[in-house]
Amino acid sequence: MIGELYRQRALIWAFANRDFATRYRSSILGWAWSLLQPLATLLVYAAVFSLVFRIQAPPLGSDPDRTSFAAFLFTGMVTFNLFSGLLMLSMTQLKSNGELLRKVHFPAWTPILGASVVQLVQVALELIVLIAMFLWLGNIGISWLLAIPILIGTAMFGQGIGLMLSVVNARYGDVQYIVQVILQALYFLTPILYPLSLVEGTADWLAAIVKANPLTWFVEAMHQVMYSLTTPEWWVIPGLLVFGFAVFWAGFTIFNRSSEDIGELL
């Protein structure tokens, strides 16, 4: 798998370049727009959930007396967006490249990964905003470095699921709408808008669902290293990496097996 990915790097890059060049070509503010949506969401959610529902964020790692709901919320949002962005984008790629796949023979996953490369740039922009937020709050720590493997795991997780679903979506066009609804539900079943401790006080089944949600593991790890500036147990991060890699490997294998006749399917 790795060898295959490496051999096709030029093609992946070519698709990435195409998507990069065309994504915001016709809008003046270009990349700025891509930040507008998450920042607007952040603003609305932060206002509603901290002021109306009075949800308390846990104390900041640098100063246990202070909290920042916005920073807490954005940490979770960035992680979740990385997952859902890759997943949704990957899922629609086969269709949008259908014209090409029906006429030229090349590995069908290359346009998918190319699109993902561009999506990662968007995530990087969000990360910069997040880091700026923490710098402004003075909440800085060496544990930040651990965010890198966590985000890699998240990306592989999202990409793996995206690859699996892309073939299904090519066959049944309504899958993407179902997935959209599921993602929306998952957003609220992941401790993004509330700390995990808040769920523990509610119904047991709800807490069980939230804890069984793999996204909770990734988001919680990010909360720890970025917000609380603590280090998770030693096995957490390797575990997340192995999990992410396993899902990606499975997605890639399933994709390759089921996309052999993609030229006929589209």
Binding site: R18, T22, V104
Partner: protein, 405 residues
């Protein structure tokens, strides 16, 4: 696989599932289960074809005979349901030109992207870039988004990219019919260049005249199976025979008016009964060669004695234009009184017709040249080939001289 073949198809078959009602949404799939009324449909079957390296190979057949499916199998877009396909070297397809072009990207960016999709490395693309731009003739517009291109420009750019991939095997599907006259010629010249370089070309086309000039070997497909494989002229000949026979059967009425002498226009005192292609000695031939004298032999039946009839033999090129007409009146050859059965031979000296397919119309007029006696359209159809193998420009070669001072 021996080293002599660029593409080898061994008992290849491709089956498509024809869903009477395809389950396109999850709901339908869940509610109604797997669709039951699937029918097997073999697009091609039992195909054994060996394409020698460095040859130009043609695929002919009626629409839906499986030609394009075969090309898609060779490129790998489809996988064969049975049998094996072995290809040697890089395969590039001119199946749909410019398929990968993104409308918002410039011509230059699209060349890069298309090159990568077709399997070129970055340095290979950079090396070929200028040649591709020159070949396309679109240098002026190369940095404009291709959405502003005309459809012709689009195709030119696509063709330019594909042929500069330096493919070992180039698959061409009906794309030569695009672009203007000048660009088409350029494409043909380029195909000949590729051929000289020892690359293999597989062509699908309905332009039988073009194919005959270009191809070494031709395979004729009919309903997904191979009917005949062999030298281009022979196979195209038998294909045409079949097509004509079927057309005659299908258009029984129309054919009757054409060939049935009683249904023809004109006074009818003379009827042309048969016509054939002959060489300068009067022997039957099945094609003519540029530069070599050949003739048309026409059998006439006169119902009455007629004075000095005018027999006109017109040649029409496959693309439509009437190229030339032979007339005994024009060369002051008076037949005098004719009666009974007569055989007329008209020879075209040093045949100036350039390669292509021609249709022959035979008309008979009275001695004044103004009253129609018999009109026989499409009496004959034949191919002109060039002994040197090249395809000329235009329809006829006139005598000319050159001088340099």
């Amino acid at each position: 696989m021996t080293d002599n073949f660029a593409v080898e198809l061994d008992n290849v078959g491709k089956r498509f599932m024809r869903h009477a009602d395809r389950r396109n949404t999850l709901k339908e799939r869940i509610v109604r289960g797997r669709s039951r009324s699937t029918q097997d449909f073999w697009a091609v079957r039992n195909v054994d074809v060996q394409i020698p390296k460095g040859s130009v190979y043609g695929l002919i057949g009626h629409n839906g005979s499986g030609k394009s499916t075969l090309l898609k199998l060779i490129t790998g877009i489809y996988r064969p349901t049975e049998g094996t396909i072995t290809t040697d070297g890089r395969v590039a397809a001119l199946i749909e030109l410019g398929a990968g072009f993104h409308p918002d990207m410039t011509g230059r960016e699209n060349i890069k992207l298309n090159g990568s999709i077709l399997g070129l490395s970055k340095s290979e693309i950079d090396n070929a870039m200028e040649t591709i731009i020159d070949f396309s003739g679109l240098r002026e517009f190369i940095d404009d988004p291709v959405k502003h291109y005309s459809s012709g420009m689009y195709v030119r750019l696509g063709f330019s990219v594909a042929v500069h991939m330096k493919p070992d095997v180039l698959l061409v599907d009906e794309v030569l019919a695009v672009g203007d006259e000048e660009f088409q010629r350029k494409c043909f010249d380029h195909l000949y260049t590729l051929r000289r370089e020892g690359r293999t070309i597989v062509v699908v086309s309905h332009g039988l005249g073009q194919l005959e000039g270009l191809c070494d070997e031709v395979a004729w497909l009919d309903h997904g199976t191979v009917q005949e494989i062999g030298p281009a002229t022979e196979v195209i000949g038998s294909y045409l025979q079949r097509v004509n026979a079927e057309e005659a059967k299908a258009n029984a009425g129309i054919a009757a008016t054409r060939d049935d002498t009683t249904m023809r226009a004109g006074s009818g005192v003379i009827r042309s009964t048969s016509a054939k292609l002959i060489d300068y000695q009067g022997d039957s031939i099945n094609h003519a060669e540029t530069g070599t004298t050949f003739g048309i032999e026409v059998n006439l039946h006169c119902y009455e004695q007629v004075l000095g009839p005018n027999v006109r033999i017109a040649f029409q090129h496959e693309t439509g234009p009437l190229v030339t007409m032979m007339s005994n009146h024009r060369i002051q050859h008076d037949f005098g009184y004719v009666e009974g059965d007569k055989t007329i031979s008209a020879f075209l000296t040093d045949n100036p017709l350039l390669p292509g397919r021609y249709r022959v119309h035979i008309d008979v007029f009275d001695h004044t040249g103004s009253v129609l006696i018999d009109n026989w359209d499409d009496a004959l159809e034949f191919t002109v080939r060039s002994p040197r193998g090249e395809i000329g420009q235009g329809f006829i070669e006139l005598p000319y001289t050159y001088d340099i001072r």
